[in-house]
C-alpha cells in the first residue's frame, strides 16, 4: 500500500480518479481521452508539488515510512553481506546494522542505522535511535575495517541517539564523542551517506568521513524541527518554521559546506522508485570511493581534518585591541 503525506493529497485524489476510470475498463473513446487527459494533469501536478517542496515537506519525505534504508541498499547494490553483531561490552543494538559486504566487487565495511519497516521491526530497532552499545558496535567494526584495510561506508538515518535513562548511565555522550575522535583518524577511506534523517549527534557519530553525501530529500540537522520549535518558539507546532530556519535540506547544506555531494532522487522521493535510487547511489559511491582510495593515507587524514576544520561561520574582528591588551 502506497502511503501519502498530507501535502500529497491532491496527487492521491487524482491517482484514485485515474484508477477508477481504468478499472471501469471502458473502451469508449471519451473515457480513454479522459484517462489520458488526467494522466497529463497528474504529471503537471507532481512537477508542481514535488518541484516546490518546502523544507518541512522535505523533512516529511526524509522520514517517510516507506523511505528506503540501509537494508534496501544492502539488498539492491551489495553482494554477500555478512552481518556482524555486538559491541563486546554490553549488547547488540539492533538500531545499527553493520558488517562486511561487497559493492562494485570491492569488499567494504558497511554500517548504518535502520529504523525498521513493520511496527514489530521498528520496535526491535528502537525506531533507529541507537543506544551507546550501537555506537560502540559501530566503533568496533570501524576499527576492524581499519585493521583489514577495508573502506568504510556509513548510511545515516536516525531521529537521533536515544534519550533514555539507561543510555545516559552507559554513556551515550561518551560513545558518540569516542566515535567522532576515532573516525577522524581511521587510516582507511570513509564515505558517509545521509539517506534519510540526519538527527544531530546521533547521526554525526557515523558521519566523520572523507566524503559526506546526501540524498536529495534527506535532512541533516543539529536538532529536529519539532525540538527546535519547542525550545525557541516555545511551541512544537511551529516545526515548519523551524525546518526553514535550520537550513537542513540537501541544497542548503551543500551551500554551507556541510556535505560534499547531493545525490538526486526520483521525482517525489526515493520511495517512489527504490531501484533507481539505489542504482544512482551505487554509481556515486563507486566514483567517490575511487577518488579517495587513490590518496596516500597521510593525505587522506590531513584532508579529512581540514575539511571539518573549515566548517563554520566566523570572522576576525579588526579591532584586536582586546587580545593585545591582555598579551
Amino acid at each position: 500500500m502506497k502511503e501519502y503525506l498530507d501535502f500529497e493529497k491532491p496527487i492521491r485524489e487524482l491517482e484514485e480518479r485515474i484508477t477508477r476510470l481504468q478499472k471501469a475498463g471502458s473502451k469508449k473513446q471519451s473515457v480513454q481521452d479522459q484517462i489520458e487527459k488526467q494522466t497529463i494533469r497528474l504529471n503537471d501536478l507532481e512537477i508542481e508539488i514535488y518541484g516546490n517542496l518546502t523544507p518541512w515537506q522535505r523533512s516529511q519525505i526524509a522520514r517517510h515510512p516507506q523511505r528506503p534504508s540501509i537494508s534496501n541498499y544492502l539488498e539492491l547494490i551489495t553482494q554477500n553481506f555478512l552481518e556482524l553483531h555486538g559491541d563486546r561490552l554490553f549488547g547488540d543494538d539492533r538500531a545499527i546494522i553493520g558488517g562486511f559486504t561487497q559493492i562494485n566487487e570491492q569488499p567494504v565495511m558497511v554500517i548504518g542505522q535502520e529504523k525498521g519497516k513493520t511496527l514489530k521491526e521498528r520496535m526491535q530497532r528502537n525506531f533507529g535511535m541507537p543506544n551507546p552499545e550501537g555506537y560502540r558496535k559501530a566503533l568496533r567494526l570501524m576499527k576492524m575495517a581499519e585493521k583489514f584495510k577495508r573502506p568504510i561506508i556509513t548510511f545515516i538515518d536516525t531521529p537521533g541517539a536515544y534519550p533514555g535513562l539507561e543510555a545516559e548511565q552507559r554513556g551515550q555522550a561518551e560513545a558518540i564523542a569516542r566515535n567522532l575522535l576515532t573516525m577522524a583518524r581511521l587510516r582507511v577511506p570513509i564515505i558517509a551517506i545521509i539517506t534519510g534523517e540526519g538527527g544531530s549527534g546521533g547521526a554525526l557519530a557515523l558521519g566523520v568521513a572523507d566524503r559526506v553525501l546526501i540524498l536529495e530529500h534527506s535532512i541533516y540537522s543539529v536538532i529536529s524541527p519539532e525540538g527546535c520549535a519547542a525550545i525557541l518558539w516555545d511551541d512544537a507546532t511551529k516545526a515548519a518554521q523551524a525546518a526553514s530556519a535550520l537550513k537542513l535540506t540537501a541544497p542548503e547544506l551543500i551551500k554551507i559546506g556541510v556535505v560534499d555531494e547531493v545525490i538526486s532522487e526520483p521525482l517525489g522521493g526515493a520511495h517512489r522508485d527504490v531501484e533507481a535510487t539505489a542504482l544512482h547511489l551505487q554509481q556515486t559511491i563507486q566514483t567517490q570511493l575511487r577518488q579517495i582510495s587513490a590518496l596516500p593515507v597521510e593525505t587522506l587524514l590531513r584532508e579529512r581534518d581540514e575539511k571539518f576544520r573549515r566548517m563554520g561561520a566566523i570572522r576576525q574582528a579588526h579591532n584586536s585591541s582586546h587580545e593585545k591588551a591582555s598579551t
Binding site: A161, A173, L180, G201, V208, I231, K247, G312, A313, S326
Partner: protein
C-alpha cells in the same frame, strides 16, 4: 540537540549570582537561604549542600591560575549569522544582546596560563553567553587553543558549562563537534594531556564531543552533566527520573568520570595531575 528545557534555567542561575550582591541568596540545589558573604568567602560553594555556584570566567581565572599568568588567545574572533536565522528574535540580535551583556565576543575564553608554575593552554566556557552554546566560534577557538598547545607541547585544560550545540547555527554548530574531536585526535597522537573539568551544567553536543574526551575527566560536586536534558528523557520514557540523576556523583558511580573535585582542592589536584601527565 542540547538546548534542553531546564527546570533550573540560565536565568535562575543568573538570579542567584545577582543576588550574591545582596545579603541573602537561595541555593540552586538545596534551596537553603544562605548569607551571601558566607558563600562568597567559601569560594561560591553552598555551606549546606556543597553545591558549587557557577563561577564567572574572571572568577575562574583568579581562582585557578597563577596571578597575572593568564594571556588570552583569539578574543577577536566573532560569529557570523550564516543561516540568517530568525526565531522570535534574529540570531544577530541575540548575539549583540549576549555580547553587550557579557562584554565578550563569544561563549568561551581561551588562553595560556600557569597553574602552580605548570604552563598550559586553557579554555573556559561562559554560560552567560547564550547558555555556553557551541557555535562556530567556540569550535574554532577550541581548535586553535589545541593547536597552540600542540605547538608549545603543553597540556590543555577545558572547563565546560554549556547547554549544547547552538541551534541558531544549524548543522554548522553540529559540525563543531567533529571539528574539535578531530583536533583532539591529533593532540592525543602527540601524547599531550587533555584534562576536562565539567561544571554545572554541561549538556548535549558539548558533552558528546570535547567534554567526554579528556584523558582525565574531573567534575565539580553536584554538577548536572548529560547528553539529553532531563525533561526530554522524562517525556521519552514516561517515568520520573531518580534523585541525583545526571549529577556528577551519578556519573562517577557509573564510571563516566575520574574524580569529583571540590573547589578548595582544585588547584592542588590539577597540579598533582599535571606532574604525572605533563610531557
Amino acid at each position: 540537540m542540547g538546548w534542553f528545557k531546564r527546570q533550573k534555567s540560565a536565568e535562575d542561575i543568573e538570579k542567584s549570582s545577582k543576588n550574591l550582591e545582596g545579603m541573602w541568596l537561595k541555593c540552586n540545589l538545596c534551596r537553603a537561604i544562605i548569607y551571601a558573604k558566607e558563600v562568597e568567602r567559601n569560594q561560591k560553594v553552598c555551606p549546606k549542600c556543597d553545591y558549587h555556584f557557577p563561577f564567572s570566567v574572571e572568577e575562574r581565572i583568579a581562582h585557578l591560575t597563577d596571578e597575572q599568568s593568564f594571556q588570552e588567545w583569539d578574543a577577536d574572533i566573532v560569529p557570523e549569522d550564516a543561516l540568517e536565522f530568525v526565531d522570535t528574535m534574529s540570531y544577530s540580535d541575540r548575539l549583540l544582546a549576549a555580547q553587550k551583556k557579557t562584554g565578550k565576543n563569544e561563549a568561551i575564553v581561551s588562553g595560556q596560563c600557569t597553574i602552580d608554575g605548570h604552563v598550559l593552554g586553557i579554555g573556559i566556557f561562559n554560560f552567560r553567553f547564550m547558555g555556553g552554546s557551541m557555535g562556530s566560534v567556540v569550535g574554532e577557538k577550541i581548535c586553535r587553543a589545541i593547536d597552540r598547545s600542540l605547538d608549545a607541547k603543553m597540556p590543555f585544560l577545558l572547563i565546560t558549562t554549556s547547554g549544547g550545540a547552538r541551534m541558531q547555527e544549524g548543522a554548522l554548530s553540529l559540525m563543531q563537534m567533529a571539528k574539535t574531536a578531530s583536533a583532539l585526535a591529533r593532540f592525543a597522537e602527540a601524547r599531550l594531556p587533555f584534562i576536562v573539568l565539567l561544571t554545572d551544567p554541561t549538556f548535549g553536543g558539548v558533552t558528546a564531543s570535547v567534554a567526554m574526551l579528556g584523558d582525565v575527566i574531573l567534575a565539580e560536586p553536584k554538577a548536572l552533566i548529560g547528553f539529553a536534558g532531563p525533561r526530554v528523557i522524562e517525556q521519552t520514557i514516561k517515568q520520573r527520573l531518580p534523585d541525583g540523576f545526571q549529577r556528577a556523583e551519578f556519573l562517577l558511580e557509573h564510571g563516566m568520570i575520574d574524580r569529583i573535585v571540590s573547589r578548595k582542592n582544585l588547584k592542588f589536584e590539577i597540579h598533582s595531575l599535571l606532574q604525572y601527565v605533563s610531557p
